[in-house]
């Protein structure tokens, strides 16, 4: 293997990065959503929608972290692709629930 410890190997990357205010705003938004989630869970009973609300808030929070804090929005298509793959495959795993849900469906009549 060749030795690469020459000075000309120290290189500069091209990089554009968001201004810090973007990060700060994201942080405040995340905390805000967290408290919305908390307050809703403590004081507002929406029955079956509780879990929907909680999950929607989580998804918004997670997207904010992924897109802004992890910088996916500012990266190449390939990085975006892999971030998406993670989500899509998780959904695929969750199709397992389909087995459990359809187990109680009424069976087909005889001679269908």
């Amino acid at each position: 293997m060749t030795d690469h410890s020459h000075d000309d190997d120290l290189k500069h990357a091209d990089h554009a990065m968001p201004k810090p205010i973007i990060y700060t705003a994201t942080w405040i938004m995340l905390l805000g959503l967290l408290f919305v989630n908390y307050l809703q869970s403590q004081y507002l009973d929406l029955g079956a929608f509780n879990i929907v609300i909680a999950l929607v808030i989580c998804l918004i929070q997670a997207s904010a972290v992924v897109l802004i804090m992890m910088g996916v929005n500012f990266h190449s298509t390939l990085v975006k692709f892999w971030a998406l793959v993670g989500f899509v495959w998780l959904m695929l795993l969750f199709t397992t629930l389909g087995d459990y849900i359809t187990r109680h469906w009424i069976h087909l009549p005889q001679g269908w």
Binding site: M1, A13, Q42, C58, F74, L90, F94
Partner: protein
């Protein structure tokens, strides 16, 4: 107005590893590599979330009773701590990119503090749960302190503190005072607490790994070690740390908040 500021001049230099041709290729490789790793982490935790949702669908009542005993204040504090840690981490990465060692150290120190704070809160929470014998297994034990765990006019006369194995055959045939009640419901809650401990435990393991990595980085940066001339180690640690944060963003409502109403 652009949200970007283009940074080119003040950038820290990077060293090119032998297998790469140019620096942008190297950076992109590291970022994509980290993301493929995070995808595996998503699937890793995803399976646990699947198990949680499935059992929650199967045993809503038992699970809600068990949800109810988790202390929201601990979870909420930890959520705030982790989200703030995430924010400090982004600032740290930014400072490192700009080659600002002093600020890098400051933000990284803050992130480390958050991480340790998380563990401190978590340890108090675990301690209280161990004290209440909520850890599954032979010593698992259930004391309902939450109102509404058993509704109905007959519930008050049941002893709700029966140990798991105290099934008395003599009592089986008696009319209403059926101590067997507690036995299997207790099992369902064991199911919940097994999941709770595994999920938060694995998350805590990730936090500990994060602390180890960040601690190492902190000292390397403190002593200007050449291996951290490049901002990539900090950037990758950042990605990892954000992922740990995201897991908690989902864990917190799904374990602590749902079923509180």
């Amino acid at each position: 107005m652009s949200i970007f500021e283009l940074q080119r001049e003040g950038f820290a230099s990077q060293r090119l590893a032998h297998q790469f041709e140019e620096i942008n290729q190297q950076n992109e490789c590291y970022i994509v590599g980290m993301w493929t790793f995070l995808v595996t982490e998503i699937m890793f935790f995803g399976a646990l979330f699947l198990i949680l949702s499935l059992y929650r669908m199967a045993y809503p009542a038992s699970f809600e009773q068990a949800h109810a005993v988790l202390l929201v204040s601990f979870g909420l504090t930890n959520a705030v701590i982790l989200i703030s840690g995430s924010y400090f981490m982004t600032m740290c990465v930014r400072a490192k990119m700009l080659g600002d060692y002093r600020m890098t150290q400051l933000w990284l120190g803050l992130t480390l503090l958050c991480a340790c704070g998380f563990l401190v809160v978590k340890s108090f929470e675990y301690a209280s749960e161990f004290k209440d014998h909520h850890f599954p297994g032979p010593s698992f034990h259930w004391e309902t302190t939450t109102p509404g765990a058993y509704t109905g006019s007959y519930s008050s006369q049941f002893s709700t503190t029966m140990p798991a194995n105290a099934v008395n055959s003599a009592a089986v045939s008696s009319t209403y005072s059926a101590p067997v009640t507690q036995n299997l419901n207790m099992h369902k809650r064991q199911l919940f607490f097994s999941l709770y401990f595994i999920m938060t435990g694995l998350h805590a393991v990730h936090v500990i790994i994060g602390i180890l990595i960040m601690g190492t980085l902190f000292f390397l940066i403190r002593y200007r070690h050449p291996s951290v001339d490049d901002y990539m180690p900090v950037e990758l640690t950042g990605l990892y740390w954000h992922f740990v944060d995201i897991v908690w963003i989902f864990l917190f409502p799904l374990l602590y908040l749902i079923g509180k109403q």
